[in-house]
């Protein structure tokens, strides 16, 4: 059960940890509708982030989560899933 949502800060940190991509959380938030590609994140990188979140929150994320195209789309799906499971 989670009490806080996954934030842009956390997503930026995960992009660094799982895929080696440095992105400022504020910039990520401002460009939340831009495709992950534009930050240099590929599909395997996103898959790694999904795996890390699943381990961190002890929850399964839907298969669609690794197919999300933008940070906004991804966080909406992840947070709705985690909140629904709470």
């Amino acid at each position: 059960m989670i009490t806080t949502e996954v934030t842009f800060d956390e997503l930026a940190a995960l992009m660094k940890q799982a895929a080696g991509i440095t992105v400022d959380p504020e910039e990520l938030k401002d460009a939340a509708e831009s495709p992950f590609d534009s930050f240099g994140l590929d599909s395997l990188g996103l898959l790694g982030i999904v795996g890390e979140l699943e381990n961190r929150y002890g929850a399964s994320l839907p298969p669609d989560s690794e197919r999300c195209r933008t940070p906004r789309e991804f966080l909406n799906l992840v947070n709705s899933t985690l909140t629904a499971g709470a």
Binding site: K16, A18, A19, G20, I21, T22, G40, L44, G45, L47, G48, G51, E54, N55
Partner: protein, 414 residues
């Protein structure tokens, strides 16, 4: 595409990441001086293994050379390859984004892939569970990883490939690149780099009867002597830039050497006596393709495995293929100073061959003194000589044999 195609594959860029030098000039200086850098293995988790001595690439800082997003998803063998490829492209005056991405291809050879990365992820698999294995495990360990990452990092979209044909694959890759250039690709980035000094990778090698397990760095790898007791492995390698010689002349860049001929044969794993015939056939085939007579070979860079039976087979193969010239031509094996980097080894030898021709100097064979074969092995000090044509030999533990003829760059311009 160049208007003045020569049909000859010229080397215009060299990138070296070797135990005895992190750049081409440092590597050549060590090779020329016969510097021995073999030492006790210090890499983490390897200190207790029965394999004690190797050529480690020390003071290599991947983070200073390669972007984080490539570091996270790749093994050390790809770090070496990416660094060497960038050095080679810069050396050729082709650094930065290519004008036409489809005009530049990549081919590498690999002997074992990314063992260190693979071990780390597999330890997570049985230590914590499948959900803890990172997705880059799917690509990082793979033989093809370095070709793919060099291509992605440089935006190179020309013909790409990977040669997995044993240690001699380093030479096969060069031949593959030369053919691609002759067929019309403008530029090929080609070579091999390996990272066999990690716990899992080392355990895999322990079964090789040809591995030297001596703990004295000066005595562990002494091919062509009565004390020969196997080979010492190394990490690192080299990447080259190959393009049509006419195109290189048009661009006004120096031609470091010309890949003139190649042939490969197969005679079976660890069947060293049989490698005599296979290697002799490879030499003859390479000379034929190059249009070079045996007497025209000015220097031989030997495979120098370091097993008495294998050394004898190589000495006899040289004599079989070159006739009486085989006992007179200078032969050298600089790798006794820094080890055999598997597929990277013959590429490093090819680099040494081009530099030897450039400098008119046959480098010595470090740590080797009393040669017990009928070869003119150059030992102790580099020997000045006018060198136009070099023969590079390579054999793999699994039975591949290959020979490559390289000619001096400035010769073929005439």
């Amino acid at each position: 595409m160049s208007k003045r195609r020569s049909g000859r594959a010229a080397v215009t860029g060299i990138g070296v990441v070797a135990p005895n030098g992190l750049r081409t000039d440092a590597y050549w200086k060590s090779v020329r001086e016969g510097l021995g850098v073999l030492d006790l293995i210090t890499r983490e988790g390897c200190e207790h293994m029965p394999l004690r001595v190797a050529g480690e690439v020390r003071s290599f800082d991947p983070a200073a050379l390669i972007e984080d997003r490539f570091l996270v998803q790749t093994d050390r063998f790809s770090h070496f390859a990416m660094a060497a490829a960038a050095l080679a492209l810069d050396d050729a005056g082709l650094g930065g984004e290519p004008a036409d991405p489809y005009s530049v291809g990549v081919v590498t050879a690999a002997g074992s892939g990314g063992g260190e990365f693979g071990q780390r992820e597999l330890q997570k698999l049985w230590g914590k569970g499948s959900k803890y294995v990172g997705p880059y495990q799917s690509i990082a360990w793979f033989y093809a990883a370095s070709t793919g990452q060099i291509s992605i990092r440089g935006g190179l979209k020309g013909p790409c490939g990977v040669v997995a044909s044993d240690e001699a694959g380093g030479l096969d890759a060069l031949a593959h690149a030369a053919r691609a250039v002759r067929r019309g690709t403008d530029v090929m980035v080609v070579g091999a780099a390996e990272a066999p000094l990690a716990p899992y990778s080392m355990v895999c090698q322990l079964g090789y009867p040809e591995l030297s397990t001596l703990d004295d760095p000066d005595r562990a790898y002494r091919p062509f002597t009565e004390k020969a007791c196997g080979f010492v492995p190394a990490e690192g390698g080299a990447l080259l830039v190959v393009e049509d010689e006419g195109r290189a002349r048009e661009r006004g860049v120096p031609v470091r050497g010309v890949v003139a001929g190649h042939a490969a044969t197969f005679t079976g794993a660890s069947r060293w006596a049989e490698s005599r015939e296979g290697l002799a056939h490879a030499i003859t085939g390479a000379l034929d393709e190059a249009g070079v007579a045996p007497e025209e070979v000015d220097v031989v860079f030997a495979d120098a495995l370091g097993m008495p039976e294998a050394d004898r087979a190589e000495a006899l193969a040289i004599a079989d293929a070159l006739g009486a010239h085989g006992t007179r031509v200078p032969v050298t094996a600089p790798k006794t100073g820094f080890g055999r980097a598997y597929c990277g080894a013959p590429v490093l030898d090819t680099v040494a061959a081009m530099l030897a021709m450039e400098h008119g100097l046959v480098p010595p064979t470090p740590n080797v003194f009393d040669v017990c074969h009928d070869l003119d092995l150059v030992t102790q000090h580099a020997r000045p000589a006018e060198l136009r044509t070099a023969l590079v030999l390579s054999r793999g533990l699994m039975g591949s044999n290959a020979a490559l003829v390289v000619r001096r760059g400035d010769d073929s311009a005439r």
